[in-house]
């Protein structure tokens, strides 16, 4: 009937607004972190020292690498290098997978040691340490969920690049998917120092 409606600027604006809401979603948890840290400086530091810094660092590097892949994929698509772009996107999916695998190692270790929400050991710990671990599981769990969603998204985008639905003429979907992945990355860049480094 009418000509196809296409508005890349609008699509980007929409994505940015959506990313705002994601930042605010995590913002609620960061507010809780700030206030409870203010109340329980000592217990927070004690609990934080217990976390596995090595795995956290490795995961940071992995996520940043994933972001690099995705950014390169956008450039590759714009230069019509489809196969390279698909490879880079699948590389991005891979970094998400490795991240989640590391998280699995980290968490199963904690849970094995009896540190998980509602565990008897946690109830015996000092008030404040339990809150730290509660926030740790909720925040990192929510972030992990976003890694999962982001990886799925990258997989779909790789398929679209492969089938030509995303190409050098229309790549706003890829850009938006990339932005989402960068957000996952960005949130981690706040989580990592707050939970692993700062205290």
């Amino acid at each position: 009937m009418s000509s196809e409606h296409r508005d890349d600027v609008g699509a980007r604006l929409g994505m940015w607004l959506f990313l705002y809401t994601e930042v605010l979603l995590f913002g609620g948890l960061f507010i809780l972190y700030a206030i409870y840290l203010h109340q329980f400086e000592e217990p927070f530091a004690n609990a934080a020292h217990h976390l596995n810094l090595t795995l956290g660092t490795i995961n940071t590097v992995i996520l940043l690498t994933g972001s690099y892949f995705v950014a390169m994929a956008v450039s590759a698509v714009r230069r019509n290098r489809t196969r390279l772009a698909v490879g880079l996107l699948l590389g991005g999916v891979g970094t998400g997978g490795v991240f989640l695998f590391n998280k699995y190692l980290e968490w199963s270790h904690e849970i094995h040691n009896g540190i998980y929400p509602g565990s008897p050991k946690l109830l015996d710990l000092e008030r404040g340490e339990a809150v730290f671990y509660g926030l740790y599981y909720v925040t990192l769990g929510l972030h992990g969920l976003h890694v999962l969603i982001g990886s799925t998204l990258l997989g779909i985008l790789a398929w679209w690049v492969h089938t030509g639905k995303v190409n050098s003429e229309r790549f706003v979907a890829l850009e938006n998917g990339g932005l989402y992945w960068h957000l996952v990355d960005l949130v981690w860049i706040f989580i990592f120092p707050l939970y692993y480094l700062l205290l």
């Binding site: 604006l13 809401t21 605010l24 913002g27 809780l32 409870y36 000092e126 809150v131 509660g134 929510l142």
Partner: protein
């Protein structure tokens, strides 16, 4: 009228869809069809909410047990709150009438993201079904009140888990609608529509959309935390583990107070559309109106803690939040004064939409002024958690947004269906609703001042008379609603042809056929004047002076 004549058989977007039968509706990406889907679903939830409210009132007609047990009573008022807030009043005007008319007011063919729009409605439907399902499954209907305050919401065995999942999904739906509206307003304005030529309805939807986008995620994380507390026993709000229940209240109200403005702002937009049309005058103070909407959205986001004056905040915090609360009264008053100024020396025709607009101004003013009593800490401490609060917010929500919603129904349904309801019956229904409303909620405010607590199942015999009055008021109100709905539905189905512009409106929707065609405009219009230009109207000499 010198417009192409529209016959009742020409059904515009109501005619054939892309798919046959019901799929043409539930899979349609046409903003008008989605708007109607929202209208039908929110109206259904409204009716369920009204029935629950009537049962609550009936239980309170006499002290002691009247019709239901105390547990059932707790479930009744909780569900009344959840349904009315999350399923009717928040999506009501923006999702139904916003979807119907935002693109038309902008001179656009659809919203920016039509498929996302349909997805929002599906999310709404999913949330609604889950919320209703939570009644019949699990350990019984939720009984926490719509606010899900910890620690009770974490400890109770009733089906709170499913209810908060429903609220989370509804929040998502609300965010996506807001996002869509912001992008649409920025990107799809027709040639000639600068920011100074937006209708005030669009301005308020725009302000509302920002609140939806910026506040709702906090609700998302809050109910997600309730969910996790219940499922995983995290203990973030449990003092035994170092948590703080007050933090829950802060997070909850950081969303839920701005949500009040998600509810009221679009209502104010509707009133700003109706009044100039029936006063045949340009809206008084266009920019003051547009900017006060944004100011309400902004200031309203800073006042959440006035719900918590007795929760144990510091005196400084109470003072600050009390002051900020009073500031919201300024842009609200600007709107009220500008509506009245628009009516002043207007050429007024007292049609049903205007009656609802006038009752909006009256009831909303009572609601707003009693809000100041609650905003001042000293008086608030006296009436906290009494029926006064319940009366106050029903004056604002129902007397404000509800009346605006009914006004919108009477104003725009002839456009949507191309048929007119019986105006005499509509006037009677309005009168009955108005009387019942005041009997019901004013009695509640007096009860509250005398010390009747809210949410209590039982009360001392001294409160009986006013409770009887309130309950009888609820019956009159309900009767008025029945008359109104029957009249509207009859009008929709078999009313006389309404024509293109039954009210003589100047905004863009009145320049296209009723019902509007699928893509609204045969050609995207070029707009050369503001939306309320009545300078060409022939007014009586005394009105012109």
């Amino acid at each position: 009228m010198s417009t192409p004549s529209v016959t009742a058989s020409d059904r515009g977007f109501l005619g054939d869809g892309k798919y046959p039968g019901i799929f043409g509706w539930i899979l349609s990406t046409d903003h008008k069809r989605i708007g109607l889907l929202y209208l039908y679903s929110t109206m259904t939830m409204f009716i369920i909410g009204v029935i629950l409210g009537l049962l609550v009132r009936l239980e309170l007609i006499a002290p002691g047990k009247t019709i239901v047990s105390a547990d059932t009573y707790n479930a009744l008022f909780t569900l009344h709150g959840v349904i009315m807030i999350f399923l009717f009043i928040i999506p009501g005007i923006p999702a139904a009438f916003g979807n119907l008319f935002l693109p038309i007011h902008l001179g656009a063919r659809d919203v920016s993201f039509p498929r996302l729009n349909l997805f929002s409605w599906w999310l709404y439907l999913t949330g609604a079904i889950l919320a209703v399902t939570s009644l019949f499954t699990g350990g019984g209907p939720p009984d926490t009140g719509w606010t899900f305050y910890v620690p009770f919401s974490v400890q109770t065995t009733t089906n709170v888990t499913l209810a908060v999942v429903a609220v989370f999904i509804l929040g998502f739906s609300s965010i996506l609608t807001g996002l869509n509206f912001i992008v649409t307003t920025h990107r799809l304005r027709a040639p000639g529509i600068g920011w100074g030529r937006l209708t005030l309805f669009v301005w308020t939807l725009y302000a509302t959309a920002w609140v939806q986008v910026l506040a709702t995620p906090i609700l998302g994380i809050t109910v997600a935390l309730i969910f996790l507390e219940r499922v995983l026993d995290v203990g973030l709000f449990d003092p035994a583990r170092g948590g703080d229940p007050i933090m829950y209240q802060h997070l909850f109200w950081i969303y839920s107070h701005p949500a009040v403005y998600i509810m009221i702002l679009p209502g104010m937009g509707v009133i700003s559309e109706i009044i100039p049309v029936f006063a045949r005058k340009h809206i008084f103070g266009y920019w003051a109106m547009a900017l006060s909407g944004l100011a309400i959205a902004f200031a309203g986001s800073l006042v959440w803690a006035h719900h918590m004056f007795v929760s144990g905040m510091s005196d400084t915090a109470i003072l600050v939040f009390s002051f900020l609360t009073f500031i919201v009264a300024i842009p609200s008053a600007i709107k009220v004064f500008n509506w009245v100024a628009t009516l002043y020396k207007g050429s007024i025709s007292l049609e049903p939409p205007l009656l609802y607009a006038l009752s909006f101004i009256f009831l909303f003013s009572i609601g707003g002024l009693t809000g100041l009593i609650l905003g001042a800490a000293a008086t608030d401490i006296h009436v906290t958690d009494t029926d006064f609060v319940v009366g106050h917010f029903h004056y604002v929500m129902f007397g404000g947004t509800g009346m605006a919603f009914f006004g919108a129904l009477h104003y725009w349904l002839p456009k949507v269906y191309g048929r007119m309801y019986d105006k005499r019956v509509a006037t009677w229904a309005w009168g009955i609703i108005f009387v019942g409303f005041n009997l019901l909620y004013f009695s509640m405010m007096v009860l509250g001042l005398r010390g009747m607590p809210r949410r209590y199942y039982d009360y001392v015999p001294e409160f009986t008379n006013l409770n009887v009055l309130a309950t009888v008021g609820s019956w009159i109100l309900a009767f008025g609603l029945v008359v109104m709905f029957i009249n509207l539905i009859r009008g929709m189905i078999s009313g006389p042809d309404a024509g293109m512009n039954p009210w003589g409106g100047k905004t863009l929707e009145w320049t296209i056929p009723s019902p509007p065609p699928t893509e609204n405009f045969a050609e995207i219009p070029v707009v050369t004047t503001g939306p309320y230009d009545y300078s060409d109207e022939v007014l009586a000499p005394e009105a012109r002076r």
